[in-house]
Every structure is written in structure tokens, then in C-alpha cells.
């Protein structure tokens, strides 16, 4: 993992028991995770009485460094040994490394979900509503007597957070359009889950070998 000098300096300060005692270290670490993962978090996350004695400039620097590191680690899906190596280089003692890794492990899933949700994608279908009607007549045509469906797809846009809807009408034959019926989709889901578990096992070695 490539990290800037700024981050490195911040961590070196964080490693120093003179600047941060055990309690302060833990608090700052938790604050860093909280800022990233808690939607309600704000600047007050550093307003703890046990952190008051530390120079606010230093506090901010270390907080930023920790947050940057956590994001980079999450992005690269760093494992424990990668994390430990970097922290050792920053002169963290054993105890602090353990603490960091434990905190990281606890928050890993939330972090990955957050990172995975960032980015652009096509409008995403979230739900469908339908209406069945029996058409009797219009002003142009009487005695129609045929069923018709109105289907509305609820769609979510990742960036604009807008929720447009797509509506269209169709008849019975067209509704049987899903060239993929329910059983085929269930099979597809099963195949994907087994593929997922298989690939997960090979991921670390497999992918890195491909991209060497």
C-alpha cells in the first residue's frame, strides 16, 4: 500500500506513548472509524475530555492519517499481515498493532459495504408494481374487451439519488416475456453462490497471479 508522508508522520505521532497514552490512542482510533462509518458523525467526534490535553493540530493530523489509512486498507482489502507490516514500520508497539487490527476487523464489513456502494452504475431496479385492467372502450374504439397490464418499475439512481419510475403497458403474452422463468433464476442464483464461495478461496492468490 502506498501512503503519503503526511500519513506516515501522523502514524509516527500516534505510535508515540508520550503524545498518545493508551486511552487516547484507543479513543482516536475509534473516532477515526466512527467518522468514516457512522452517518451521523461530525467534528464533535474528537471532543472527548480525555483528548483535550493533546494539541488540536496534532489531533487532527493523526485523525486524518488514521482515516486515510483505514480507507486505503479497505480499498485494497488488506489482510492482517499487510496492516501489521505498515504499522511496525511506523514504530507501533505490539499492543497498539493488535488493537488496530482488532478494531479494523470489527469494522471491516461495514467499511467494505460503504466503499462498494461508492461509484456510478446504471439505474437500479428496486421494485415492481403492476395493475391489471379490462379495457372496455375508448372514444375511438368501442367493445374492446381485452385485459391489459400496466407495469411500473421503481428505479434508483446512485448519483442523483432520484427515484424515477418507468411505466409501460403490455398484454398477457408479453408479460410472459421473462425469457428467464422463476426456476431458471433460482438455478442461476445457486450457481452464482457456489461460484462465489469457490472464487473467494482462490481470490488472494488467483487474482494477484493474473495481474502480476
Amino acid at each position: 500500500m502506498e501512503l503519503s508522508e503526511y500519513v506516515q508522520k501522523g502514524f509516527q505521532m500516534l505510535a508515540d506513548p508520550g503524545s498518545f497514552d493508551s486511552n487516547a490512542f484507543t479513543l482516536l482510533l475509534r473516532a477515526a472509524f466512527q467518522s468514516l462509518l457512522d452517518a451521523q458523525a461530525d467534528e464533535a467526534v474528537l471532543d472527548h475530555p480525555d483528548l483535550k490535553h493533546i494539541d488540536p493540530v496534532v489531533l487532527k493530523h493523526c485523525h486524518t492519517a488514521a482515516a486515510t489509512y483505514i480507507l486505503e486498507a479497505g480499498k485494497q482489502r488488506a489482510d492482517k499481515s499487510t496492516l501489521s507490516t505498515y504499522l511496525e514500520d511506523c514504530k507501533f508497539d505490539r499492543e497498539r498493532i493488535e488493537l488496530f487490527c482488532t478494531e479494523y476487523q470489527n469494522n471491516k464489513n461495514t467499511l467494505e459495504i460503504l466503499l462498494g456502494s461508492i461509484g456510478r452504475s446504471l439505474p437500479h431496479i428496486t421494485d415492481v408494481s403492476w395493475r391489471l385492467e379490462y379495457q372496455i372502450k375508448t372514444n375511438q374504439l368501442h367493445k374492446m374487451y381485452r385485459p391489459a397490464y400496466l407495469v411500473t418499475l421503481n428505479v434508483e439512481n446512485t448519483d442523483s439519488r432520484s427515484h424515477p419510475e418507468i411505466s409501460f403497458s403490455c398484454n398477457m403474452e408479453q408479460l410472459q416475456f421473462a425469457p428467464i422463468g422463476q426456476s431458471k433464476i433460482k438455478n442461476m442464483s445457486l450457481k452464482i453462490s457456489s461460484l462465489l464461495s469457490e472464487v473467494e478461496l482462490n481470490f488472494q492468490t488467483g487474482f494477484s497471479n493474473i495481474f502480476k
Binding site: K75, R77, P123, H124, V128, F168, I180, F207
Partner: protein, 199 residues
């Protein structure tokens, strides 16, 4: 139900007995063609010259015939009702038969054309799909995120519209379940009763 023909309409149609039945059949063909594609005044002039009448007369004849056919098709009147409606015009037996045949032959197509005039919602045309797996993004590496990409083709007022959308397999399963329920509805007693009784 009988057709209510106005005096003006009857006047226009009065031209028809004055020409050959082949000409009336031709007018019928022109009328349906105009319903399909829109009217073309040049055709009137050509016919007018051949028949030695004014093009206005030809136009009125064709338009009268068109209106007769569209009104009958719209109301879906029975053979008997059509014959009775036309009877008041005092045409010959042969001409009445010809008009009835014209109505019956073209009714289905005319109704299809008329149905395109109703308030239009986008209607389904077709659908293409593709299964993808996202492997990484700028913010997160080493992912396995399956998704289904769908290209939905819709028609509205003659315009073709496509929408590209995405969903995950779990939501897709939910969508299919919902739509299968929608289809099942048509088979329920309630819907069957409605369809049977409203005719």
C-alpha cells in the same frame, strides 16, 4: 345499433351508385389505404379524370365511404345492423352486398388502426438481458458483485425508446415472482367472471 348518417354524409355517398361496382371496390381499397398511410389528394385527381367528374365529388365519395367503415368498425356493429343502416341510402342489392363485404373484410384492420389513437402509455416492445459480475471499482478492489443488465425496448406514439437498467439476482427473482402473480390473477374466478360477462 344502427348508424346515424347525417344528410351531408348521405349526399356524399350518393355518388357511389352512379359508378361501376369495380370502382366502388377501388374506392374502398383507397379508403383503407388512406386510413393506413394518410390521404393523398393526387389519387382523387387521377380518378376524377377517368370518371369525368370533379375531384371534389371523388373526394367526398371516398371520405363518405371511409367514415362509414370507421364508424361501423368503431362500434363493432353486427352484419344485420350494418345492412339496415345502409338500407336507408336506397342503394341496389349488389351495392349493399359490396359495402357489407368491404366492412367485414377490413373491420379488424381498421380497429387496429383506431386502437392506436387512444391515449398512449409507453408500451412494451422487447427486452434484452445480460449477466455481469463486477470485479472491482475505483473505491473497492477484489469484488464479486453479480448483476443483471437489462435493455428495455418501449414504443410510444410510434417512437422507439430504450432504457438500460440494472438489477441484482435477488431483486430479479422478486420481480419475476411479482409478475408471475400478476399473470396468475387473470386465471382467478373473479377475472374469469368479468371477462365472461362483459361482452
Amino acid at each position: 345499433m344502427l348508424l346515424d348518417l347525417s344528410e351531408e354524409h348521405k349526399e356524399h355517398l350518393a355518388f357511389l351508385p352512379q359508378v361501376d361496382s369495380t370502382v366502388v371496390a377501388e374506392f374502398g381499397r383507397i379508403a383503407v389505404e388512406f386510413l393506413r398511410r394518410g390521404s393523398n389528394p393526387k389519387v382523387y385527381e387521377g380518378a376524377a379524370r377517368k370518371l369525368s367528374v370533379s375531384s371534389d365529388t371523388v373526394q367526398h365519395g371516398v371520405e363518405g365511404l371511409t367514415y362509414l367503415l370507421t364508424e361501423s368498425s368503431k362500434l363493432m356493429i353486427s352484419e344485420l345492423d350494418f345492412q339496415d343502416s345502409v338500407f336507408v341510402l336506397g342503394f341496389s342489392e349488389e351495392l349493399n352486398k359490396l359495402l357489407l363485404q368491404l366492412y367485414l373484410d377490413n373491420r379488424k384492420e381498421i380497429r387496429t388502426i383506431l386502437s392506436e389513437l387512444s391515449p398512449d402509455l409507453p408500451s412494451y416492445h422487447s427486452l434484452e438481458w445480460r449477466l455481469d459480475v463486477q470485479l472491482a471499482s475505483r473505491s473497492l478492489r477484489q469484488q464479486i458483485k453479480p448483476s443483471v443488465t437489462i435493455k428495455l425496448h418501449l414504443n410510444q406514439n410510434g417512437d422507439h425508446n430504450t432504457k438500460v437498467l440494472q438489477t441484482d439476482p435477488a431483486t430479479l427473482l422478486h420481480l419475476v415472482q411479482q409478475l408471475e402473480q400478476a399473470l396468475e390473477e387473470m386465471k382467478t374466478n373473479h377475472c374469469r367472471r368479468v371477462v365472461r360477462n362483459i361482452k
